[in-house]
Symmetry: C2
Subunit: 528 residues, 2 copies
């Protein structure tokens, strides 16, 4: 069957594809949602795709409808443990952070970081320390490993299978992974650290903050990676590090583009494929379409806080519902909690909404979002201005990007927010035409590129399979130490030489002056 | 007519094109050869193209067959003057450089640099100081200015016409223009300066040399640009600089790609479109094809030293002919000088050869080249290994790139070269299969990209016209001073703070120690 699809794809409009065998590393949440679309296209183009999936996965579920093979593995934890952890983490991030003092906050962050590390290592063990699974993978004749570097150890398996590695990635805090392991340059003077909430236009104090942000994150990362460094060194039986292994990746598919990201230096093996999951809107379900049409000229507002936060305290949901009741638009709100008492007649609550189809609807006037990258990209794709209520992680920073481009109003804090703030935000982006114009400008930038992002991602995955890697795109910086990279040894040498030359010059001057003085003295004394 | 072509192109397979009006800055030599292909494609896609051409141009000749309009201007020098200068410059570069002492060399280089500057300013005057021409341009309703930044003042005209500017560029020495004016990052630890003849794998001494090369070129450039800075400031009536104005370009189309260039950091508005002039081979003229076929299994060698060097001293041409007579291949030699006495039966001399068609011929085994970028790209396109005899300019450095990739043997000096060196070089690349394999690998990299280079160049020119610029791709570094860019002000501030903190800490320690000692002394004395 695979060969037939492969042969057909050779003839089809999709263009030629040499059918390969793709091993996909486990991932979860929005990482998996994004990756899945790439995998579906690879399948359509005749490739064979095998996905490693742990027992305890929330999003990666083997479905009959999927055309890729799932290869399960045991990760010594159950789904409920993972779910509990995520719920605790989200609750902490959204509701607790400003109730704790610095010490409590640091302790809690340390606790979460430790749990995440332990979970990661447990996943690694589940694959690397299962001889049966590793044998199966070795015999699987894979051509490539495709992974999100948030989930470690794929680089070890790529090395063990002797196949190239392609990453698909959104971000790490202050780009520590991309900078320190991928060698992505980021001058702190105009490249704001990811999650610093800065733009590329920084004042002097902001540049100081940005520099300290980079330095502190580099320091914390090098501490946090020690556990992985030991794990990698022990497993591979040679001194190595988490970062060194990650740096061996052939291509980094970065899930943003210049519609969202501030322009910055990058490398030939970093491909910016943001918005690859976006697609034209499909028709809405009948009752939803009727509700949307009933909005008349005022149009609709689409509201979601993402898949991880679909419940909230009653008081908060009432506050939001009160605000929404005050606007002339109809509102479609994705919400899994109890119906708020103050819900207006213009607002309907849905357990799930076809977000992309709603954002692409001609009646849509605004999008209230928590600022997740996937949602922001759907809004950019369809040119919809946003009101951002960031909750945690990269969301506040994401919204800074869209606000800086004049396509969003950003509210600071979901807990302290007043109904009037939300009403004002919505009225601003709906009634001040510059927001819609800026959103449309971003949409034009998004669509107007030489290759569609999904096609570009698939192209580079296939390129790596066809050419057994893409090492010609990998900078030599990977083979330099940090002091060589920054030319500190060269500067030290040049300064030493300069000092010696100046010193010799000084000694010679002194010698000649002394000699002159001595001679003139001698002459004087002779005359006397 | 233009509108009809435009409309047809909207429907044709070429894809949609919004028909624009392109003003092309004058250029010459290989710069013009490369640019012309882009212009022809723009015409095919329904755009209107007007080319500024000086009276004294060697390559830009208005031809009946061209579909673009030529707009002549007077540059207060005649064609013979330009021709004499180029001949003198080439003769100096190829034959004189190693016969002069350092002082003579520097004086000669200074003389040439001054003449080039004067010629450039004379060209600028020809356009900017002709009120009729400037009025004509202002009324020309242009959508874009397209230029090679080697030929200055296009940025001034773009500003005067209030239209975006796109550069098409090969290189400046040590990338001074791209780095200092375009903000292209180039860490000296792994990005060899253009024309330094270094690769990206540098030893400690090579890194020192590279650093000094960058520093010296930056210094020389800032001296050389002073004349332009004054000219720009005077013309625009405000303090500005050559570099500042150049930095306003929307897109830099760089005429290399990662098949040739060592991987390096770059910017979102730098698009690498190397090899855009290459195309599949067309059939050869009948008599040439017969000669090629007569080579049998041995195949042919294609030999040219470029359009600027088509004559050489008799002694040298005899040496080369002697070498060529010793190989079993048939040789097609583009040469405009007198027939060498030692010409073998296997060698034929042509005033002109269809270089691309010959390189794409199945019988072609090797290419003897001076190392010009256009020729190298045709060889990469067709996967032909090379023997390089670099003459001047970027040619020695270009050949270092291809040699580092194992697809070329590079001879050092055309004058001291012995016939056997050329024979050995040819035998090596023809008989050692690794050279052909590496050339084919480069060819695969060249062809295997998401968009063809010509299409990519045209895409970004059209993008800029459609969107009235591409400022979203231009880094904020353009608005920073050199010390802000390198964070020197931030470091100075942080070091000052650190020093103050340490000093206060030291003073406090001293104070407490003194107090402790004083107290214990007091106690002691009381006890006593």
């Amino acid at each position: 069957m695979r060969l037939i699809v492969c042969f057909l794809s050779l003839l089809a409009v999709l263009g030629p594809a040499e059918c390969g065998n793709v091993l996909v590393w486990f991932s979860d949440g929005s990482h998996w949602i994004n990756l899945k679309i790439v995998l579906e296209t690879l399948i359509e183009r005749g490739h064979s795709v095998t996905v490693l999936v742990p027992d305890a996965s929330l999003f990666m579920k083997a479905k009959e409808s999927d055309h890729f093979s799932y290869q399960p593995f045991n990760a010594s934890m159950d789904e409920q443990e993972v779910r509990n952890f995520i719920e605790e983490f989200v609750y902490f991030s959204v509701y607790e952070t400003d109730q704790l003092n610095l010490l409590q906050l640091l302790m809690k962050v340390y606790k979460f970081a430790s749990i995440i590390q332990d979970m990661s290592i447990s996943y690694c063990d589940g694959i690397l320390k299962s001889p049966e699974l590793m044998d199966k993978l070795r015999n699987g004749m894979f051509d490539i490993v495709l992974s999100d570097p948030m989930y470690p150890c794929s680089d070890i398996v790529a090395e063990e299978l002797n196949v190239p590695l392609v990453y698909t990635f959104r971000l790490s805090i202050a780009n520590v992974l991309e900078r320190m392991c991928g060698q992505l340059p980021a001058p702190p003077s105009f490249v704001p650290g990811v999650m610093s909430k800065l733009t590329d236009k920084m004042s002097f104090t902001e540049r100081i903050f940005n520099m300290l942000f980079y330095l502190s994150q580099d320091f914390l990362a090098s501490l946090a990676w020690r556990k992985f460094d030991s794990y990698y060194t022990e497993y591979l039986g040679r001194p190595t590090s988490y970062c060194e292994m990650m740096g061996k990746a052939d291509i980094w598919l970065i899930r943003i583009y210049w519609d969202f990201e501030f322009p910055r230096p990058f490398l030939p093996n970093f491909k910016y494929v943001g918005g690859l999951h976006c697609s034209p809107a499909k028709p809405l379900p009948k009752d939803m379409e009727e509700f949307v049409q009933s909005s008349g000229d005022d149009g609709i507002v689409v509201f979601t806080l993402g898949s991880l936060v679909d419940k909230m305290p009653k008081e908060l949901s009432n506050k939001i519902a009160t605000a929404l009741a005050q606007i002339p638009q109809k509102v479609l709100w994705r919400y899994g909690g109890e119906k708020p008492d103050t819900l207006g007649e213009n607002t309907r609550i849905y357990k799930w909404i076809p977000q992309n189809d709603l954002l692409g609807h001609s009646k849509t006037r605004a999008f209230i979002t928590h600022g997740g990258t996937n949602g922001i990209y759907e809004a950019i794709y369809h040119g919809v201005p946003m009101v951002g209520i960031p909750l945690f992680g990269d969301q506040p920073d994401n919204l800074v990007h869209i606000k800086a481009r004049g396509a969003a109003v950003r509210l600071d804090n979901i807990k302290t927010m007043e109904p009037q703030d939300l009403v004002n935000g919505l009225n601003t982006i709906i009634n001040n035409s510059s927001y819609k114009e800026n959103a449309m400008r971003l949409s034009r930038i998004h669509h107007d590129r030489p290759v569609k992002p999904l096609d570009e991602a698939v192209f580079w995955i296939e390129f790596v399979m066809r050419n057994k890697g893409a090492k010609h795109l990998r900078v030599e910086a990977h083979n330099l130490t940090w002091y060589q990279y920054h030319c500190l040894d060269v500067f030290a040498f040049l300064i030493t030489i300069l000092t010696v030359v100046l010193y010799v010059f000084f000694i010679m001057c002194k010698f000649f002056i002394m000699r002159c003085c001595f001679r003139s003295k001698n002459k004087k004394s002779k005359k006397e």
